[in-house]
């Protein structure tokens, strides 16, 4: 039972890192970025290559982070320079990265059992991944409080405002995409080291799982204004992995996993959409133009 909880937490915290990356694009930038499906295994490939060359595993994580940011840069350039739609830009990068990942690894799977990884220490792996997830969250929280972070938020909210402020919105989008994909690649590097191998297919569905974590976290903490969004995402990722682990334990066929994930996302999105409609109405009634337009009939 203990090992069950530990492995769930391990998986949960690693995916919390991915989910935080997905949160940047999907929620803050309002950019459905599919390239994460490619940058997650990119991080794993780069880490595997580095480890096999005898590079320090922490440095390997750094390289994975950089590689991921380049992936995000590619998506951003396709979108802002070549004016390809956001969804398609991500998909193109994802597809392209499949071959690049194969090139980096030289084969479709590299076992890492014989190399020194970040988990070769006395510290419990769960603590290591928990620290990673928490650090990512804290750094992201701090970033969103900076001037650049404000603008990142504003681009997803109202591009025209950002332009009116004299800022190149394309630059801001690029920053967001690079950061998001760098975080996803970092998670891929951790994942590969934790499971003991890097595999070309390990990225499939990463975006959807990240998304599932984001919306699961948001729907659990819907009523709360105190809990930060990033905290919701972090807990959402752990909850998602817990739900999946319980389902597998209860006899779910592992082959059905991705279908179940898709169904969960659909279910949560559908309920959210209906609930949000209700929320909107209550806001209208509450605030309105009470102060300025108190005596007009239209309010």
């Amino acid at each position: 039972m203990l090992s069950f909880i530990i492995s769930t937490l391990l998986q949960g915290f690693i995916f919390a890192v991915v989910a935080l990356g997905v949160y940047i694009t999907y929620r803050i930038l309002d950019f459905p970025d599919m390239s994460v499906d490619g940058t997650f295994p990119l991080g794993a490939s780069v880490a595997a290559l580095c480890l096999s060359k005898g590079i320090n595993p922490w440095t390997a994580c750094g390289f994975a982070f950089l590689a991921g940011s380049l992936g995000g840069l590619a998506t951003a350039l396709l979108h802002v320079k070549l004016k390809i739609s956001n969804l398609l830009s991500g998909i193109l990068v994802m597809i392209g990265l499949y071959s690049i990942n194969l090139r980096i690894m030289g084969k479709s799977n590299i076992p890492l059992f014989n190399y020194k990884t970040i988990f070769n220490s006395d510290i419990n792996p769960v603590i290591i991944v928990a620290v990673f997830a928490l650090l990512t969250k804290i750094v992201l929280d701090l970033f969103l409080k900076t001037k650049l972070g404000f603008i990142l938020n504003a681009v997803g909210d109202n591009e025209q405002l950002v332009t009116s402020l004299g800022i190149n919105k394309d630059f801001v989008k690029t920053v967001g995409l690079m950061l998001s994909n760098a975080i996803a690649a970092l998670a891929g590097a951790i994942m590969a080291q934790n499971q003991g191998f890097a595999d070309i297919g390990m990225g499939t569905g990463t975006v959807v799982i990240g998304l599932a974590a984001v919306i699961l976290g948001e729907s659990v903490f819907r009523k709360s204004n105190i809990v930060k969004n990033t905290t919701m995402v972090l807990i959402g990722a752990v909850l998602y992995k817990l739900a999946i682990a319980v389902a597998l334990r209860a006899g779910l066929n592992p082959n059905d996993l991705k279908l179940v994930t898709a169904l969960i996302v659909i279910a949560v999105l559908a309920t959210n959409n209906f609930e949000i409609k209700g929320l909107k109405n209550s806001h209208k009634a509450a605030k309105g133009g009470v102060i300025i337009a108190s005596s007009t009939k239209s309010s």
Binding site: K147, L148, D157, L161, T163, L165, A293, T296
Partner: protein
Amino acid sequence: MLSLLQVQNLHKTFNSNTVNENTVFNNFNLTVNTGDFITIIGSNGAGKSTLLNIISGMIKPDEGSIVLKDKDLSKLPEYKCTKYIGRVFQDPSMGTSPSMTILENMSMAYNKGKKFDLTFGINKKNISYFKELLSSIGLGLEDKLSTKVKLLSGGQKQSLALLIAVMSKPQLLLLDEHTAALDPKTSEKVNALTEAIVNKEKITTLMVTHNLTHAIKMGNRLIMMHHGNLIFDISGEEKKKLTIEKLLQKFEEIKEDDLLSDRALFS
């Protein structure tokens, strides 16, 4: 008087070489003096909004120059033009970031023209200044600094958008029917606020409006546009004597001209 903005030899055609080809400007010229507060009127399709869009860089002219002080804006990307220009749109949600708080919105606006780097977005020292600005518009927003803007009413949003647009003291303020989406009473309040701010900060302003009373009452100069041409330009003492009847008469004259040309076309 010093000229601030010169629009020269402006040409703009939409959908050129198609059936829907639409020439909005064919050699349009306008000089705006420093300190002018110009109200712009004209029937739909006259090119009023297109003119503002071209000045602010949102739309690029086919030909001609837009010179603000010494800089030609006609070739610059929009975000470089907007460095010198403040703008309020008809849609109240265009001027603010809805999911962010009033304080966050104002902090961003206050930082316009400076670097958006990795220093903290909110500087506590500015809060009392923001509160002062907000209390000057008398909507009680100074006590709602941490309220998200999406929870404000249209009038509150538009007043905030106006504050945000002028906060960095732009050289030119563009108002594109900025009270048209508001109810009459709120519209009056926002217009009064507009006048107060423009007069206090002495910002050169172009205001597009369909409300003839506002067009006459506000500003020191009034221009009327029709089919991409300046057909009426009046300022100073003469403008003060202007009445709605006279303006309506002008509109009638245009209509007759249009009818005549239609008749010529179909005869």
